[in-house]
């Protein structure tokens, strides 16, 4: 089993590469479906999820509870998708949403600006000058999003296992490279790795359901034994306990679920 994420600048032929890789390897190809899945599961309009995943915050705006929750919903849907089967994910922020899974093959496809302008112009029927501005705007939003939320520049090559220049290597060359690399030992998921993915998917799923009650909740899971960590001050209302009890009976894979209290500090993500 293997999981491949393909990050790409807009209009960089990354989708074409992802689809060809998936076809060649017989993997599922996932992108926008995770947004649709998250939208249905958590009853949030898809456009809001897209906004949360794509746009950097404006000067007057900060990443609020809504954005963090929406990102968690998408992450949950994505993890649910990849835990079942070999997959190629080419949607937004794969290298971040799946960063906790070792052995994911993280690929970035880059293209010359002129190439991207041509692709956009052709696809959206706009002039080159307009296309250049659009690309610049999209790039800037994505970089802002990544820096603000995760403190990383999506263009930093050290975030990926492979960075492939599509103009120079070509789509076919990129597909060959990715398929050859995915077959190599570090990226073939062991049983241990698969179990860890199951646990991570479960932890993120539980956390997604708890975020609206406690923004700072963290969740860990091991063999289906789920531990929920919250601040002491957040336990007063009893809503968390109610929700946890509900989750125990409604989310598959939970063997046991407990709430633990952290003394006063806010926590980082699970």
């Amino acid at each position: 089993m293997a999981i491949i994420t393909i990050s790409r600048g807009s209009y960089s032929k990354g989708k074409e590469v992802a689809e060809d890789v998936a076809t060649r390897l017989g993997y599922r190809c996932i992108s926008r479906e995770v947004l649709l899945e998250a939208s249905e599961r958590f009853s949030v309009p898809e456009v809001r999820l897209l906004h949360a995943m794509h746009d950097g915050p404006s000067v007057l705006e900060r990443f609020g509870h809504g954005t963090a929750s929406y990102i968690a919903y998408v992450q949950s849907a994505l993890l649910d998708s990849v835990r079942k089967d070999n997959a190629v994910y080419h949607g937004l922020a794969g290298h971040i949403l799946l960063k906790e899974i070792e052995s994911v093959l993280r690929v970035r496809i880059i293209a010359d600006l002129q190439t991207r302008i041509l692709v956009l112009s052709g696809r959206e029927n706009v002039g080159r000058s307009e296309a250049r501005k659009m690309i610049s705007r999209i790039d800037e939003e994505r970089r802002k999003w990544s820096r603000r939320l995760h403190g990383v520049d999506p263009w930093d090559p050290s975030l990926y296992d492979l960075v492939i220049s599509i103009d120079k290597i070509g789509v076919q060359g990129a597909v060959d490279l990715i398929c050859q690399t995915a077959a190599q030992a570090p990226f073939v998921l062991s049983d241990t790795a698969r179990r860890e993915i199951e646990d991570l998917a479960l932890a993120v799923s539980v956390r997604s359901h708890l975020l609206e009650i406690d923004q700072n909740v963290t969740v860990a899971s091991e063999y289906g034994n789920v531990l929920v960590y919250t601040k002491a001050t957040d336990r007063g209302s009893g809503r968390l306990e109610e929700r946890v009890e509900w989750l125990a009976g409604n989310i598959e894979g939970i063997n046991n679920i407990e709430i633990h209290t952290r003394p006063g500090r806010t926590s980082s993500d699970a």
């Binding site: 103009d167 120079k168 290597i169 070509g170 076919q172 060359g173």
Partner: protein, 210 residues
């Protein structure tokens, strides 16, 4: 770094065979050095793999191998059954065919010239061509599409792309799609002759071009 540091040595001694071949073309030498014994044809390049096979086979006693060149016999550009090599020239600029066709015909090739890619491809349904020299950028079909269609009709055809818009990306794409060679315009006829010669040799023909 490698433990052994090779001495810099003489430049000429490191000069690969494909470089020598271009030198010959530029110097206007009529004899491009492909004699019957093939002794000087030894080269390391995949493009010229047939040449290595040829020299090895000649040492073994002139045995015929797939892709290797036959022992020279008869007139130039003739294979062992006496058939001439068939070359198609496809370029929407008439001057290209006008310049190349007489030279190649004189060298013993059977040459057909086309200005229109669709007509050229239709012709390929009627007759097999050993070598196709095609422009890259044409109005109705581009060179890559022509290349793909030619190779779908006949896999052994050696397709040589010529273009005034040569870039790294286009060259690599052409190779990925199966092109035999890729030449930037402007070029001298003798440059193209050198490539055609290589193509001919790779098909098992002696390629002594005048």
């Amino acid at each position: 770094m490698a433990d052994e540091k090779k001495p810099k040595g003489d430049k000429k001694s490191k000069f690969d065979d494909w470089m020598v071949r271009i030198s010959f073309a530029e110097a206007g030498e009529s004899d491009l050095g492909f004699d019957a014994t093939g002794v000087e044809l030894k080269t390391k390049l995949a493009l010229d793999k047939v040449m290595v096979m040829k020299s090895e086979r000649v040492e073994e006693g002139n045995e015929q191998v797939e892709g290797g060149a036959a022992k020279a016999a008869g007139s130039p550009a003739e294979d062992r059954v006496g058939q001439k090599l068939r070359i198609m020239i496809l370029d929407d600029e008439p001057i290209v065919g006008k310049r190349l066709a007489p030279t190649l015909t004189k060298s013993g090739f059977e040459v057909e010239v086309f200005l229109n890619p669709k007509e050229a491809l239709e012709r390929m349904d009627e007759a097999e061509f050993d070598i196709v020299v095609t422009d890259f950028r044409m109005d109705e079909l581009d060179g890559i599409e022509v290349l793909e269609q030619i190779l779908s009709k006949c896999q052994h055809t050696r397709v040589i792309l010529i273009t005034g818009y040569a870039t790294v990306e286009v060259a690599r794409e052409a190779l990925m799609k199966g092109a035999f060679d890729f030449i930037a315009k402007p070029f001298k006829p003798r440059d193209l002759k050198a490539v055609i010669n290589k193509a001919a040799l790779s098909l098992g023909h002696t390629g002594k071009l005048d």
